[in-house]
Amino acid sequence: MAIYDSHWILTLLILIPVFGGMACLVLPEARAKHVALVTTTVLFVLSLPLFWTFDQSEAGFQNVVSIPWIDAWGISYSVGIDGISILMVLLTTFIMPLAVAGSFSYITKRERAFYAMLLFLTTGMIGVFVALDLFLFYVFWEIMLIPMYFLIGVWGGERRIYSAVKFFLYTAAGSLLMLVAIVALAYLNHTATGTWSFAYDEFLALEIAGRTQLWLFTGFALAFAIKVPMFPFHTWLPDAHVEAPTAGSVVLAGVLLKMGIYGFLRFALPLLPQAATHPTVLSVMLMLGLIGILYGAWVAAVQPDAKKLVAYTSVAHLGFIVIGVFGLTTQGIEGGILQMVNHGVSTGALFLLIGMLYERRHTREIADFGGIAKVMPVFAFALVVVGLSSIGLPGTNGFVGEFLILVGTFQTHPWIAAIAATGVIFAACYMLPMVQRMLFNSLDRDENRQLLDLNRRERLILVPFLVLIVLMGVWPGPFLNRTRASVDALLVRMQTAGTVGAEVVRQRQEPPPVAFRSNAEGE
């Protein structure tokens, strides 16, 4: 695999979709979907070997490419992956082909533009995850907005324009402040070293005063909190999800929502460790995460619209991830990263399923269904499995993530974790009623009796999701191992940074004071 040693693979991943998108635009309407599918599949196949070639003992970045771009500002095109980003990249390349395939019959107008937008979006997403230069990062971060804006605005539902603009302005508001923070960082770096640069590793070396850190952190945190989305910045999400076309929702939930967390892990925490470990900041973040968990679940439980319901569950899930990350423990963060993938998989699948149903009945009102398990057994099976993974049933991927997050956070913030644990109850409270009211009860509506079960294409789309759900549920090792080195490095950095850090990693140095260990070794 020469290419995987030559490191250009990441650049390929960024470029291929661009050309694919252009191809979509120029080729005939009917071909667009196939071009898109081929492109994304190629992308996935190309990216897959990264999983094996990735050196999990290495904490730093791999497959790094760095070439000067705008010399005058010390901006370089530098990309690379580490334990935190590799899973995100793979998640993206995994979701995209399925999202494309999921749109084959859903999208009937302006297909060229649609698939082009999806592909441009892909470029943006991969770029965000691999960028090692904050200028580059910001460019990708912003570029993503435009295709998404179009996806929602052109192919969305009735209130699509409101939702699209809301989504756009909401996210842009955050990122603009982040831009100021980035520039400020660059300037601090300039005063420290005398040269302009936006390079991640240069910023890592910066010594920033605590107060300044807090200000900069606010800048970053706002952008990321909106993207996550954390309560109370979440209201753009339900609208965007409900109005977006299936593929849009899938990508939005599957990948875009992860960027907020990724931003925290990649930038906010390591660049501004003192701010991030500042007790107030920590407690605010944890509280917001906690509120997100409960609030998201509660509001989800009373939604009449299935898609909106799932949208709110995302708020809850991301809340878990937030407390996992800001619990600042190995398990918490590794669990958080894993949970990002899990959420991408299970929520993505949920949106696909709801989309499939919408194609048949053109409604998402839960009340309009009922008893369709009789006519759509395969669909029912899939929905139940995916739903269970989404509420973290042991044996599915969802459990591993939630469990690690809670175990981790419990060591530093027992009360937060304990209250968060009640989230599993509310999870049942939103998912099971939906499943029941859609699949079970009596099949009393004629239009439901006519429903056809999933066709071959739809089944094929779902298989990868189901496989991954079980696989990651019973054997998450391969995924967790790849994150380990980077997460530990991050934690060490946080630890050296602040008071909180010290106790954070306690349980990583001194082995738990348990007697049996010794004589267990003795045996």
Partner: protein
């Protein structure tokens, strides 16, 4: 920057060298006069037949050739230099400005062609006046002497007053030019009085030479100087249409023929800004603490108010008018930075701004249709699917105006931000980003009309455009994208240009100037920190 050896020095000892130093201006003036002469002698008895068209196209060609020649001339000047206290600046800063102005003018001329034909404006003065205005701008950016500066400014203004009102049979056009003229004259009176006071305070109209005097009077808290600077700023504030001196702008921009609007919005503004940058941040760099206050205020007001008013606009032309006012606010941030970095940023932004503004005005007059009165947001419904290329062009221009990557507009905005942060103008920086958030809304509004709404049945298809127009639009759009993805070359050019300006500013032996500019040479710590005790 260049080595001293191959520098062409203009010492102004010989007359020739002055002519050479003014070569672009001279060329343009000749072109303009030749146009006037040409149609003076080619008056045909019967206006019927191809006569008119032929003359029009000859004027067009003369103009383009003139601009091209001037372009080459200023490139030729680019490795020249003149003494800091010379009458006419010969440095990268001027050359860079020249190139921006000439390029902009060329674009305007190209997009005018369709317009003139469509609105059937036959008056041959159009091109001549455009060239004269251009001469004024070039003089304005070259002037190192307040007298020359004033002359250049007026030359530009008067020509543009007329251009604004050139559609004599349209009351709006006349009204626009009247408003513009009245307020403009009022403003230039302030400018002149300001210059007078400055002259009184420093004893010379050649500020570069007056650095010591300035230093002295700053130290002595000389009211004359202060008032002079104030009036000077007011005069410029009108030209760059800074709030609250902007009131005329929307009306004039709306009333004027759209290409002229584009010209006003870019050329006039750019020239005025370059002059302002030179006068304030270089010549009066030592008096920063005097003028920084007003500039900050103007900047903040100019960023906030027009952006908000633009939200409520239904007429796209007027919306863009307000947005271009807002852009003046962004540029003022570069002025407030008062560093070489700030000047470089402003230059870059001006370049990008010129391209994207002209481009967008061109498209909206195209969509507005004959009479140039339509162009309401609603008229853009479904344009994206009816005229994909036209719409894509507009999309790119709007994204660039909004400052969205990957466009030159984004790089420019980032550049300004950098200058502001480096000058510790955090408040300005934050205002800049927040106001551009407001701006997103009304730019996006057009986008969603174009793509998200479907065209009404009775929608009139915009006419096909002539190739030159299409090339201009495509070129501008591509230029903006490239400027956003690979801005390196342009940035280096800009920094090179101001580096020269800075070096020469050093030559003016003024403590403050020295302090605030040394920094500038290697784009430096906030000048605020480096004030002398």
């Amino acid at each position: 920057m260049r080595k001293a050896s191959d520098v062409r020095v203009f010492d102004f000892a010989t007359h020739g060298s002055q002519w050479l130093a003014l070569l672009p201006e001279v060329i343009l003036s000749l072109a303009a006069m030749s146009i006037l002469l040409h149609d003076a002698f080619s008056r045909s008895k019967d206006p019927a037949g191809g006569e008119e068209e032929r003359r029009a196209s000859i004027d067009y060609l003369l103009t383009m050739y003139g601009i091209a020649a001037a372009f080459i001339a200023s490139l030729w000047l680019s490795d020249g230099s003149a003494a800091p206290d010379a009458l006419i600046a010969v440095d990268g800063f001027r050359v860079a400005a020249d190139l921006i102005l000439l390029g902009g003018a060329a674009l305007v001329v190209v997009i005018s062609r369709d317009y003139l034909a469509r609105e059937n404006i036959r008056s041959p003065e159009y091109h001549a006046l455009l060239l004269f205005a251009l001469v004024g701008m070039l003089v304005l950016v070259a002037a190192r002497d307040l007298i020359l500066l004033f002359v250049g400014l007026e030359l530009m203004s008067i020509a543009v007053y007329v251009l604004t009102g050139i559609v004599r049979n349209d009351p709006r056009s006349s009204e626009a030019s009247l408003k513009y003229f009245i307020v403009g004259a009022f403003a230039s009176a302030f400018l002149v009085y300001g210059i007078a006071l400055l002259y009184g305070a420093t004893g010379t109209t050649r500020l570069a030479a007056a650095a010591p005097a300035i230093a002295a009077s700053v130290a002595g808290g000389d009211l004359l100087l202060t008032a002079g600077i104030g009036l000077l700023i007011i005069g410029f504030a009108f030209k760059i249409a800074a709030v609250p001196f902007h009131m005329w702008t929307p009306d004039a921009y709306e009333g004027a023929p759209t290409p002229v609007t584009a010209f006003m919005a870019t050329g006039v503004k750019a020239a005025a800004f370059v002059a302002l940058l030179r006068v304030l941040t270089v010549d009066l760099g030592g008096a920063r603490e005097i003028w920084i206050g007003p500039i900050q205020w103007l900047a903040i007001l100019t960023m906030i108010i027009p952006n908000m008013i633009a939200l409520a606009q239904e007429n796209v032309k007027r919306m863009l008018a307000y947005s271009s006012v807002a852009h003046a606010g962004y540029l003022l941030v570069g002025v407030a930075a008062a560093s070489a970095l700030g000047r470089a940023a402003s230059l870059f932004y001006l370049a990008a701004y010129t391209v994207m503004t002209i481009g967008s005005f061109a498209i909206i007059y195209h969509v507005a249709g004959k009479g140039d009165r339509g162009g309401f947001v609603e008229d853009y419904r479904g344009l994206g699917w009816k005229r994909p290329w036209l719409a894509m062009g507009l999309l790119i221009f709007l994204l660039s105006l909004a400052g969205f990557p990957p466009t030159a507009g984004f790089v420019g905005k980032l550049y300004l931000l950098r200058a502001a942060v480096a000058a510790d103008e955090i408040a300005l920086a934050v205002t800049l980003v927040l106001t551009s958030l407001i701006a997103y809304y009304y730019y996006l509004r057009i986008v969603w009309k174009m793509y998200f709404d479907s065209a009404p049945a009775d929608a009139v298809e915009p006419a096909k455009s002539e190739p030159g127009f299409r090339w201009a639009i495509a070129g501008s759009a591509i230029a903006l994208i490239i400027g956003g993805i690979l801005p390196g070359a342009v940035i280096e050019r800009a920094e090179d240009a101001v580096a020269v300006g800075a070096a020469e500013a050093n030559a003016s032996r003024s403590v403050q100037a020295l302090d605030s500019e040394i920094g500038a040479v290697q784009e430096e710590i906030p000048s605020a920190e480096t004030q002398t005790p």
